[in-house]
């Protein structure tokens, strides 16, 4: 799965996700990616998020909605992302990751799988990683 969240100079947030799913999936199987609120969300009042990981698990806990709702009540993006992924692991033993931007441009990323490749750019500087600690 691939995803992106952006904030433009006018303060508008957008997100997108694109995926081919999982190898050997049943024809017709759809995961969380195209489901608004499960696989992602964008709202200028809060921020944006794109999810990745086990689609059925993400859909069951409506992962993006959890993160956005926590942020809407004042939680910072990183804490909201960590908390939602921990909840998914706890409730449905599902693993994955998220990238998040707050409406103010705060960047957060979190994942419970072994890896997640990511990169972000701000003020002309590029950051990237694939493993925990990077």
């Amino acid at each position: 799965t691939t995803g992106a969240v952006a904030l433009d100079k006018n303060g508008n947030v957008a997100y997108g996700t694109s995926t081919g799913g999982i190898s050997g999936k049943r024809p017709g199987r759809v995961g969380d990616s195209p489901l608004i609120g499960a696989g992602g969300y964008a709202d200028n009042d809060v921020g944006g998020i794109s999810c990745t990981g086990h689609g059925e698990s993400i859909s069951k806990v409506v992962l993006a909605h959890q993160v956005i709702t926590s942020m809407r009540t004042g939680m910072d993006a990183q804490e909201a992302a960590d908390k939602a992924l921990a909840n998914m692991a706890s409730r449905v033993k599902g693993y994955g990751g998220v990238i998040v931007l707050s409406r103010l441009g705060d960047v957060a990323l979190s994942y419970t799988t072994e890896n997640m490749s990511w990169a972000w750019a701000k003020k002309g500087t590029l950051h990237s990683g694939v493993s925990p600690g990077e």
């Binding site: 433009d8 995926t19 799913g21 050997g24 017709g28 990238i99």
Partner: protein, 171 residues
């Protein structure tokens, strides 16, 4: 004026060692492409589409070219895009023979009153929008073929191996 920012991901899973470097390079290229849009007057939607097109073209990632194969050896892709200003969104699911599913998702958002089109209906809509159909083979990578051969008939193992918990321990 707001400081433009873009963040991208190339999937959360257990990365095979042979694509670690490629994945890192691919996400950097996608972030650069999106950031370039943002700093040249493009909208957040433009930036997201630009970044995802780069990722969809890179066979290191599980979208567009390089998508995993279904149990029948086909490619079925899903994509979504959402505008945080209007809350408008567009998505497609189970589309096939499309190089950039994110482009079709954006057309759903901008050219229809719907939020999600699936299967043949999504492909028919793409054709109406003038989006070219590409041969299945052009979307299939060698890795996708070998992954299907490895896991065929045991979808549960695919999921178990792809989405291992970082805390679970493994060989």
């Amino acid at each position: 004026m707001t400081e433009p920012v873009i963040i991208v991901h190339g999937g959360a899973w257990t990365l095979p060692k042979d694509i670690v470097d490629g994945s890192r390079a691919g996400t950097k290229a996608a972030a650069k492409a999106g950031y370039k849009k943002l700093t040249s007057g493009g909208t957040a939607i433009d930036a997201v589409e630009a970044a995802l097109r780069v990722l969809e073209d890179d066979p290191c990632f599980d979208s567009g070219t390089g998508s995993p194969l279904t149990a029948e050896g086909k490619v079925e892709m899903d994509a979504v895009i959402m505008d945080g200003q209007t809350l408008n969104s567009g998505a497609v699911a189970c589309v096939h023979n499309i190089k950039h599913p994110i482009e079709v998702a954006r057309k759903v958002m901008e050219k229809t009153t719907h939020t999600l089109l699936v299967g043949e209906g999504a492909n028919q809509f793409a054709k109406e929008m003038g989006i070219e159909s590409v041969p299945l083979d052009s979307l299939v990578s060698e890795r996708a073929k070998s992954d299907l051969a490895l896991y065929k008939g045991n979808y549960g193992d695919t999921v178990k191996n792809a989405f291992k918990s970082r805390d679970s321990g493994h060989d």
